[in-house]
């Protein structure tokens, strides 16, 4: 027996849509560009283009010896770069590299099919790293390209006549659409089975767990989003939006750090969508941007209502895992009418003595203060303690000091030397929020008042159209909490004393003409200033937020509430058992009717042409209207004569037309 392949050795080879395969690789590189090393992207792109060039221009494949050399070279570099720490991004890079090398020697139909499958998997995995709408569209195009290649492989030698097979591609997608939607909405979400770290190493963004004076000013250069928040009821006023992040409780004389963090936190980076709990109507939901850190930002006083957030000591909250993707969490307000308000400007009781929640800690930690430097400040507090023996008076004095003495709020403070607090308080008197918070907390501790620095965000940009807040990196802020024996923990914000504008309207206004705001990103600051562009920016952000909330973060809870909504919406007045029966019955009926109609379609699909079908339908209608039926064996023409001879002249006219069409269809070809 002669094998057909040996008769025409290159017939298959030539029929691959080679340029589509190349563009698939390039699109793939584009979508993995963010988390792959640059050398790998450039290397694979040039290999792919080289293979394409030799094939299309020189009409040859790459020589075997060069291929072997490329394989050895690339695998060598790969393992030198990645070592052997296994993570998803390493696996992705490896797949990209090997499949590009395979691209140089695709031979049979099987090879190309496997190649396309690998490309599809790579596309799916890319969603672990990027979840934006644009990225999703890119992957959709990639799917289309992959399916197109498969279509070409399986539709014979009709590549030149694109239209016909391509229409079945669109038909497939069109029918698939509703199935995808239903599956996406109702497919049960299952808990993770095991975990492999997604990224081997990743740069963190946003807050860090230590704060030197001037650190937060760096964040003021960035217009990136930190998170977005939606309130179920009335949001607090902008000046009360203190997004509490980290508690910095250890001071080494220069910078503040968190003494507890990272010790209990498992920094294994996997994904945890978490479940939402219902703790009342008054809640807010935060969509955290990926920061590769576990910090979450909450308003006081609230409790965690999603399972991916853990309560830590000192009323801190943390994610169970690092936020490697945009992460959603829900917090419920525990608003209580505050009966006691301390007689201190800006102060707010954040936890009174009566309530205890979370993990309690020793107050000694909040009194730690190094005495080896900043001697002038120590002396100053000693003197003040004599004139203000009561805590509350001392605090009042210190707060007023910031507003009464010529302290200056600036993003460009002078560089400080050894004794940071001394120099800032008595010499330069210029600083950003970190300077004020840091020195105030230190002074309070020296005065034997438990105090700590809180790092977080303050304020936020309100998006009126969709009623949510955007909190940017430049909203980063630091303030102080102090414990008063009769009131409990009280929030103190020295920055509000120096520059009230910062709290009331935002950093841009507070810094004003002196500059420094968004100096690092001129484009972003320009966009903020041109109203049209700013409007556009807000709309785009709105769309992205909706995309993230509705699609990217569609999880178990969203699914359950949707099902509940559909149930109660459809049958408001029936009990639950009946509802279940109705739904199951309905689905069953739908299934049966689908099968029946499909069988019917199958039976008649190939038998009659469209004109014949139309004729048969007309015969059926005619029989219903007039009772005239075509006998078996009666030709359409003789039947027409019979209809014409009957009393239904209107129907006869239509029958005449239909019969003429039929005749034309039957005898013209």
């Amino acid at each position: 027996m002669v094998k057909p392949d040996s008769l025409k050795p290159h017939a298959h080879f030539l029929s691959y849509p080679f340029s589509v395969l190349l563009s698939i690789i390039l699109l793939q590189l584009l979508s993995h560009y963010n988390h792959s090393p640059l050398w790998l992207v450039l290397f694979t792109a040039s290999i792919a283009c080289y293979g394409f060039f030799t094939y299309k221009v020189i009409a040859k494949r790459v020589v075997a010896s060069i291929r072997t050399m490329l394989v050895i070279l690339s695998v060598g570099i790969f393992f030198l770069y990645f070592k052997v720490n296994f993570s998803v991004d390493m696996a992705v890079s490896f797949l990209l590299l090997t499949s590009t090398l395979k691209f140089l020697e695709l031979k049979g139909k099987k090879d190309v099919t496997m190649f396309v499958y690998i490309m599809l998997y790579l596309s799916a995995v890319s969603f672990l790293f990027v979840q934006s709408f644009i990225h999703a569209m890119l992957q959709f195009i990639l799917i289309l390209a992959c399916l197109y290649v498969l279509l070409c492989l399986n539709s014979g030698h009709y590549l030149s006549r694109f239209q016909a097979p391509l229409s079945s591609l669109f038909k497939a997608i069109f029918i698939a659409g509703p199935i995808v939607l239903v599956c996406f909405l109702f497919f049960p979400r299952i808990a993770p089975l095991w975990s492999i770290p997604i990224k081997a190493q990743s740069a963190t963004t946003g807050m860090t767990n230590y704060m030197s004076p001037g650190d937060i000013a760096v964040l003021a250069q960035s217009s990136e989003r930190a998170f977005r928040a939606t309130f179920s009821l009335q949001a607090p006023e902008k000046k009360d939006l203190y997004w509490r992040g980290l508690v910095l409780d250890y001071f080494d004389g220069r910078s503040w750090r968190s003494s507890s963090s990272s010790s209990t936190h498992q920094s294994f980076n996997k994904v945890d969508l978490g479940d939402l709990y219902d703790h009342g109507d008054d809640y807010y939901e935060v969509m955290l941007e990926p920061s590769n850190q576990p910090w979450v930002y909450v308003l006081e006083p609230s409790r965690a209502s999603s399972s991916n957030v853990l309560a830590k000591e000192a009323r801190q909250f943390q994610l169970k895992t690092d936020a490697i993707q945009s992460t959603r969490y829900k917090m419920t307000f525990k608003r209580s009418v505050s009966n006691s308000r301390p007689a201190i400007p800006t102060a707010e009781v954040v936890q009174d003595n009566t309530k205890r929640n979370g993990v309690e800690r020793s107050l000694l930690d909040d009194l730690q203060a190094p005495l080896t430097s900043n001697h002038r400040t120590q002396q100053y507090i000693q003197n003040l303690l004599i004139s203000f023996p009561k805590n509350i008076d001392l605090i009042n004095h210190l707060m007023k000091m910031f507003s009464e003495q010529p302290y200056f709020y600036t993003l460009k403070p002078p560089v400080l030397g050894e004794n940071v607090v001394d120099e800032f308080l008595f010499d330069t008197k210029q600083g950003f929020c970190a300077h004020y918070a840091s020195s105030l907390a230190y002074m309070l501790r020296l005065a034997n008042i438990p105090a700590r620095v809180i790092a977080g965000y303050q304020g936020g940009e309100y998006n009126k159209q969709s009623d949510y807040y955007i909190i940017h990196q430049y909203d980063a802020h630091a303030w102080v909490e102090a414990k008063l024996p009769d009131l409990g923990w009280v929030r103190l914000d020295p920055t509000a004393m120096v520059a009230p504008d910062r709290i009331l309207s935002g950093l841009d206004d507070a810094v004003g003409e002196q500059g420094g705001f968004l100096d690092g990103s001129p484009v972003a600051s320009a966009v903020l200033k041109i109203s049209g562009l700013n409007w556009l920016r807000l709309r785009v952000d709105e769309f992205n937020y909706k995309w993230q909330k509705l699609v990217v973060n569609y999880g178990n809870d969203e699914q359950q509430s949707l099902i509940k909504k559909i149930f109660t919406g459809l049958f408001p007045n029936t009990d639950s058992l009946l509802r279940v029966a109705i739904v199951i019955g309905g689905l069953f009926a739908l299934l049966i009717s689908m099968i029946l109609s499909f069988l019917w379609y199958k039976r008649y699909a190939g038998r009659y042409s469209n004109v014949e079908k139309a004729y048969l339908v007309w015969l059926y209608i005619l029989a219903r209207l007039s009772g005239l039926k075509r006998m078996t064996g009666e030709t359409p023409n003789s039947f027409l004569v019979r209809v014409q001879s009957s009393s239904h002249w209107r129907l006869a006219k239509i029958t005449e037309k239909v019969t003429a069409k039929l005749e034309q269809d039957q005898y013209q070809i």
């Binding site: 979840q131 539709s155 996406f184 190939g606």
Partner: protein
């Protein structure tokens, strides 16, 4: 190469029971459908994606997986519709000689839908890829080796297609009534040593030149009977007369050949028939069981060759393959 599990064997068994027919229209009665090998690999890919989606709780990967999965399911329908309504009928076939390729002409058409990427063949061998565009007729010659003389009936015709994406393969087994008569291979045999043969051959040629009645060509006469020498000499078309003397005919008999085997004898006979036919002489065939009186012409030749082809075999459906 193809996935051969239970469904394949079931379809084969079912097609064995069905009757031979001249024309088939493909429908759910004779189309079988099953995932291909690559289709199973694709299902594995979907499972892998789903695991990834579950593990990393990524709703976008969920969506991606559902999309790919839905395309898989839709391709089942599309694969069926691609074949559905395809009309397959046997076309007039030609004869051939042993050792050549016999051509079974199959006519394909589809009025409801275009059929892409069809592969036609017998028993999974020699699958040829063609596409049938809607409302056009397509005649495809299935070329099969003719390694034995006799009447060859097309064995199970297999039509398969993995359109649109290759995940699903739809196929059908048809017992199409397509027959090709295969004549013995013409091999020159030595029959001169058996007395009279060579002489009579020489004589007959001699006689032929002299005794043939000639008459001028008229429209409708066969061009085969034109005497070209006369054209050169007299510049007019002269033909041999239709009725020629039986006397100058050659009898090809079974005992004329020295070859020991029956097949070899038949091959020699075949060669001589063709040879004498080319020389436009009359000949008769006398082999065991068959006696064909001397005559000449296409029909006579075909009659003789058919007798040779079917020698020792029963006339109907003697050879399958």
């Amino acid at each position: 190469m193809k996935f051969s599990l239970l469904p394949e064997s079931i379809s084969r068994w079912l097609s064995d029971k069905s009757s031979r027919n001249n024309q088939f229209t493909l429908s759910q009665n004779n189309i079988y459908i099953f995932p291909s090998k690559m289709g199973f690999v694709f299902v594995l890919l979907i499972v892998l994606m789903l695991l990834t989606a579950i593990n990393y709780q990524s709703s976008l990967i969920y969506m991606f997986t559902f999309f790919i999965g839905a395309v898989f399911f839709v391709s089942i329908l599309l694969c069926f519709l691609n074949m559905n309504g395809l009309c397959v009928s046997s076309y007039q076939t030609l004869e051939c000689f042993e050792g050549d390729l016999r051509a079974h002409a199959v006519e394909l058409s589809n009025i409801s839908e275009s059929s892409f990427g069809l592969r036609l063949g017998v028993d999974k061998h020699l699958l040829n890829e063609i596409s049938v565009i809607k409302n056009t007729k397509y005649v495809h010659n299935l070329l099969l080796p003719a390694d034995k003389r006799g009447l060859h009936v097309l064995d199970r015709l297999r039509i398969e297609s993995s359109f649109p994406f290759g995940f699903i393969i739809a196929w059908t087994w048809l017992k199409l009534d397509s027959r090709v008569l295969v004549f013995p291979k013409p091999i020159e045999g030595d029959r001169s040593q058996y007395g009279g043969g060579a002489a009579s051959k020489g004589n007959s040629r001699f006689l032929l030149e002299d005794l043939t009645e000639l008459k001028s060509y008229q429209q409708g006469d066969s061009t085969l009977r034109i005497v070209w020498k006369q054209l050169a000499a007299k510049d007019q078309l002269i033909i041999r007369n239709r009725d020629q003397g039986v006397s100058d005919s050659t009898w090809l008999t079974w005992d004329l050949y020295a070859a020991s085997s029956t097949e070899r004898k038949l091959q020699h006979l075949c060669f001589d028939i063709l040879d004498i036919h080319r020389k436009q002489q009359a000949y008769g065939l006398d082999i065991p069981g068959v006696l064909i009186k001397p005559s000449k012409g296409e029909l006579h030749k075909r009659k003789c060759l058919k007798a040779l082809a079917l020698f020792g075999l029963d006339a109907e459906g003697s050879q399958n393959g």
